[in-house]
Amino acid sequence: MNPPDLLARCASYLPQLLDGAITTLWLSAIAVACGFFAGIFIYMMSVSESRTLSTAARVYVSVFRGTPVLAQLLVFYYLPSGLGWAIPGVVAAAIGLSMNTAAYQSQILGTGFTAIPRGQIEAAKTFNLTRHQTLWHIEIPQVVALTLPALVSEMIDIVKASAVVSVIAVTDLMRVGQQLSSFSYRPLEVYTLAACFYLAITSMLSLAGRGIERRMARRA
């Protein structure tokens, strides 16, 4: 194994790994975004006056946080096809990851919601803002600002968790790694390179998160 050959081989893996990385990225982005809105919805359910809704929310969070992502994805992919309704792997992956992160985001966002003084909500009520307007114009901007570091942390976790979608036939970064490694019979190089891609993504997110934290600390 000599260096120039090694570099040449790694260079040849790059384009496909890049494609896989892009799939990983937009899958994670979709999950983060859907999970954000779903997380708000689940939080609202958990504080609702209806016992049924709040219990349902608690059960949801408990199940999605208490079981592995891989198991959840397998259920979302194979169960419908077993019942006669085949879903494409990417769709199952998007749904599964979104629902998983929604459980975590509902908890993260929840801490933000409870930090907002009741008086601000009362003022909104007084001035006849609807529940919807109060949520989106008064609460959510503050909740996001408050929980941004934790949300970035969750984004990093989603990117890492997304690696298992390779099991349900999605050509993400990990899957490309598997394909390349079986094609080239050089698993060590390929998988290490794939790991480097993940490292790059998570490191950039991490830096962004720390930058945000620093900017928030300065403003405070």
């Binding site: 008086g119 003022a123 001035f127 006849n128 609807t130 901007p141 503050q142």
Partner: protein
């Protein structure tokens, strides 16, 4: 023949569980009147105020705003049929509120805070809303702070922004919940002078306050509450000068003593 009162409470009651906080409050507010609610803490005066715009849902009696029932579909003890959010909003539209803790929205600028109720109610377009908001800010003397954030303002300035926000929607009644209680003493006067000038311009106000001298000077009608009931009500000269109610005399004693010493020049 008196015209339709702008705000009326009839036998209003409110309980929190077993605790009966309001025990049958009757109050009539005419257009242009300044009404002050005074009394010891726990007397229910703040709860009574919050029933007037349905921030608290009263359990008994009725609250009428400009002849419309607030909060419920029909009057009468038997029907506690909660009205729809939209109807409640429609009935309480002429009423706005100023809070003890200001309750400004920290992520918006001063102008944003004042304009938000207008912009979000969609009754006027954005340009007009901002114009109205600026006019309100001018009224309280804070136009130059329009693009600042509430956190950079002093307590007195924040409360004046709160007043501007309450003004911008062109209300017919303003409710003020201890507007100066959370302020450092040196900042109280700037807020009181704004309230005074609004009163002089004819704004109808119901104010819960501990500022006795101020209440005595600007009110048309003063109401003394204790333990959820109105103990005495009447013009300020009667309650502050001439009251026969021993409990009110006792409540006002510190204020009397202080005003006497200041009159005597010992200040």
């Amino acid at each position: 023949m008196s015209s339709l009162p702008i705000l009326e409470l009839r036998a209003v009651g409110k309980s929190y569980g077993a605790n009966r906080v309001l025990k049958g409050i009757d109050l009539t507010v005419q257009r242009g009147e300044i009404v002050s609610l005074i009394g010891p803490s726990g007397s229910g005066k703040t709860t009574a105020l919050r029933c007037m715009n349905f921030l608290e849902a009263y359990d008994e009696g009725e609250v009428w705003i400009k002849g419309q029932l607030l909060g419920y579909r029909s009057a009468g003890r038997a029907e506690r049929d909660l009205d729809s959010e939209k109807s409640i909003a429609d009935v309480r539209r002429p009423v706005s509120m100023v809070f003890q803790q200001f309750n400004l929205w920290p992520h918006m600028t001063v102008l944003g805070n004042v304009a938000a109720p207008l912009v979000l109610s969609k009754k006027a377009d954005k340009g007009d809303a901002y114009k109205q908001a600026l006019a309100a800010l001018k009224r309280v003397g804070l136009v130059e702070k329009a693009h600042a954030y509430p956190a950079s303002l002093s307590g007195g300035q924040q409360q004046r922004v709160g007043i501007a926000r309450a003004l911008a929607i062109e209300p017919e009644v303003m409710l003020l919940d201890e507007p100066t209680s959370a302020l450092d003493p040196e900042l109280v006067e700037e807020v009181l002078s704004v309230i005074r000038s609004l009163a002089q311009d004819g704004m109808t106000m119901v104010m819960v306050t501990h500022e006795m001298s101020f209440a005595a000077k600007i009110s048309d009608h003063v109401v003394f509450m204790e333990a959820g009931k109105i103990v005495e009500a009447g013009p300020p000269e009667q309650l502050f000068g001439n009251t026969r109610t021993p409990r009110l005399q006792q409540f006002l004693k510190p204020w009397f003593d202080r005003s006497l010493t200041s009159v005597a020049g010992v200040e």
